[in-house]
């Protein structure tokens, strides 16, 4: 893939920037304890892109995102942020450059929206600089951008799921990082709120030039909103590039093991994946002697 070029250039030069992009994973092996999720994985996040990582369940999408945000230390290889190994950088410095909205976050009991968003200012604060006028301005701005300003005095635990997700995004925005990573930001939301959140992401990307990296489940959402798509399977990059260039029926079958047609989205002209009808898929399965599909599934389960 395109990351391969970067590796050749940087091999042997440990502390030099591997590429021009701010965030990259360089030949990383990712594992939880002894369970290896991905080996020798290299990924570049193009600057100023809205990168979306897609792939079947347990392909290592979230694990890759955790590694890119230094939640998970690669057992081999390194993640580079602005040319430095991310683990070796001061924690607060990283937190001023790279924000993460994780899947699981807990709103403390009895916290108001404004207070929660204000906590995003932590990396910019110190014991003697706890709440500057700048903090106040950024918090107000972040709440306005995400449309939760009028909820400022409400308790977070009395909001709906969609509102709550916006509040968490506002908190990540208040961190004011040029890079923002989102782990499945649309999960558990209904379709209207999913589109809402994705629109917000697209707006942040287009209007403020932030680099966004999101893990998404819905391939059609990914194809519509991403400027750069990374397709993972079994911990390896199968394809990456602009959705229009890489999303084909072959790729979807290769990555997800699903027969489908790819047509043009009538609204946006981006690729739209339409799964083949059940009967058509069954027929093909019979013709193939029911081997390809099952083998794929077994491989995916083992990777989990």
């Amino acid at each position: 893939m395109s990351a391969g070029k970067g590796n050749e250039n940087s091999s042997g030069l440990n502390n030099r920037r591997s590429t021009v992009n701010r965030l990259s994973a360089d030949n990383v092996t990712l594992a939880y304890d002894q369970r290896v999720i991905a080996e020798q994985l290299s990924v570049e996040i193009p600057d100023n892109s809205f990168t979306v990582i897609v792939g079947p369940n347990a392909c290592g999408k979230s694990t890759l995102l955790r590694a890119l945000s230094r939640m998970l230390k690669p057992s081999q290889g390194r993640v580079l942020l602005d040319g430095q190994v991310i683990q070796s950088m001061p924690a607060k410095k990283v937190a001023r450059t790279l924000g993460l909205l994780p899947q699981s976050s807990i709103a403390p009991d009895g916290i108001t929206v404004a207070d929660l968003v204000g906590r995003g200012r932590y990396p910019h604060q110190g014991i003697l600089r706890q709440w500057s006028t700048e903090d106040e301005r950024v918090v107000q701005e972040s709440m306005e951008q995400t449309g939760v300003a009028e909820l400022a005095d409400r308790y977070v635990d009395e909001l709906s799921g969609g509102q709550r997700q916006r509040v968490w995004i506002a908190m990540a925005l208040a961190q004011q990082t040029p890079l923002l990573l989102l782990d499945e930001p649309t999960t558990y939301l209904d379709i209207q709120h999913q589109i809402d959140v994705l629109d917000l992401c697209a707006q942040l990307h287009e209007e403020q030039g932030r680099t966004l990296v999101a893990v998404l489940h819905d391939l059609n959402h990914a194809a519509r909103y991403a400027t750069h798509l990374i397709a993972l399977r079994g911990g390896a990059v199968i394809a990456e590039g602009a959705p229009n260039d890489i999303v084909t029926a072959e790729l979807v079958e290769d990555v997800f093991g699903l027969r489908c047609q790819v047509i043009d989205d009538p609204e946006t002209g981006t690729p739209l994946v339409v799964p083949a009808a059940r009967k058509a898929r069954e027929q093909v399965r019979k013709e193939r002697g029911d081997q390809g599909g099952r083998a794929e599934k077994v491989a995916a389960t083992e990777a989990s």
Binding site: Y32, D33, S69, R70, M71, A91, K92, K93, V94, A95, R96, G99, L100, L101, P102, Q103, S104, S105, I106, A107, P108, D109, G110, I111, T112, D115, L116, R119, G120, Y122, P123, Q125, I127, L128, R129, Q130, W131, S132, T133, D135, E136, E150, L151, D153, R154, Y155, D157, E158, L159, S160, Q163, A172, Q175
Partner: protein
């Protein structure tokens, strides 16, 4: 404005809405004041929390003065204050400065240490049940003390050391057993409960092995008492608090972020494992030292943070309010134990046990009514 928001809330089909709307109706507007100096300095003050701290401190001090005046030889509050500033007569001076002041100071320090330790544990485990009483730290300290009393017939100093070592060893064991890529709330509570059961069994065994004199001594120690405490107990406890309290408060902002889960706080630049280890160690030290000084005074560590939280109505660990609440609670309980039951003085641990137990039941009942458990 409020009604408009409420209408929006009901349209959002949220289970919590009724409760939430009812709560926001009585909610005072939070008064967070930022104090800023020209040089870029800015400090954020929660006015309500600050008021609570000041009032609790005053309450603790007032209770202390009353407590010093209480006993077989009563002294009026005015005389107590006069004696404390060095203006009393010789007899009063001896009673106040040598007999009663150290006892009250130990009470204040033990209460403060338990309140702070409890608040830390509850915040780290994100669970009100994750307090040292339930995690078995008190039981561990008791086991250490009982070993000294029963197996070695140790003197008071050795019993104190035994309790301290027992508490620290238990805390360390809980941390190591609960550690798996970070310590998480439920695992900590469950491991703690298991540890507590083991320690209780050890204590039971030690008591059956003891002869009558040792057993009586052990039982008195186990209820938690402040009687007969002198300056020898005050100084080490004061020294420990002087080091640990500032250390803990300096890390309070990181702890506040950790309430939102490890991932979020990590993303915000908190060095989660480091802060947690440091705070956990401080909490274990505070609790073990308090237990070593006064015996396992029950329920203060559990109730003080919860009461403080209800007074400040502030999210976050409420460390300083819990500390003041612990001190005020313990001194008041000691006064009750001396005063209300007249000549038969009760160990303070009995009073805190009764009050704390009732409070725990009330808490469980209201939580159940609110549908949270």
């Amino acid at each position: 404005m409020r009604t408009a928001l409420k209408k929006e809330a009901t349209s959002e089909e949220n289970d919590d809405d009724v409760r939430g709307a009812a709560r926001s109706a009585v909610k005072p507007v939070r008064a967070n004041r930022a104090v800023r100096a020209p040089g870029g300095l800015s400090v954020r003050l929660d006015v309500r929390a600050l008021t609570v701290v000041v009032l609790l401190l005053l309450a603790a001090l007032a209770a202390s003065v009353v407590l010093i005046g209480t006993g077989d030889f009563p002294i009026s509050a005015g005389d107590v204050l006069r004696t404390l500033v060095g203006d009393g007569n010789a007899g009063q001076e001896f009673i106040v400065n040598e007999l009663r002041l150290p006892r009250v100071l130990v009470g204040l320090l033990v209460g403060a240490a338990l309140g702070l330790g409890g608040a830390l544990f509850q915040a780290l485990s994100r669970n009100p049940l994750g307090s040292p009483d339930i995690l078995g730290l008190g039981q561990g300290a008791t086991a250490g003390a009982l070993m000294m009393i029963v197996l070695f017939s140790g003197d008071a100093g050795q019993v104190t050391v035994g309790a301290l070592v027992g508490g620290l060893a238990t805390g360390l064991a809980i941390y190591l057993l609960a550690w798996k890529r970070g310590v998480h709330g439920y695992r900590l509570v469950l491991v703690g409960i298991g540890m507590s059961a083991i320690m209780m069994a050890v204590n039971g065994y030690l008591l059956t092995k003891a002869d009558l004199v040792d057993a009586a001594r052990a039982v008195v120690w186990m209820t938690g008492s402040l009687s007969g405490r002198d300056w020898a107990q005050v100084w080490p406890l004061l020294g420990l608090c002087a080091v640990l309290v500032p250390l803990v408060l300096a890390n309070a902002r990181g702890l506040r972020m950790m309430e939102m889960g490890d991932d979020v706080s990590y993303a915000l630049g908190v060095r989660v494992e480091r802060v947690r280890l440091l705070l956990m160690l401080s909490a274990v030290l505070l609790t073990a030292a308090a237990t070593a000084a006064a015996g396992p005074v029950s329920f203060v560590a559990l109730t003080a943070p919860q009461l403080a939280r209800r007074l400040t109505r502030s999210p976050g660990p409420n460390l300083l309010p819990s500390l003041c609440m612990g001190a005020a609670l313990l001194v008041s309980a000691d006064w009750i134990s001396q005063r209300v039951f007249g000549a038969d003085q009760l160990p303070v641990g009995v009073v805190t046990g009764v009050l704390g137990g009732v409070y725990l039941l009330w808490l469980l009942v209201t939580e159940r009514k609110a549908g949270r458990i």
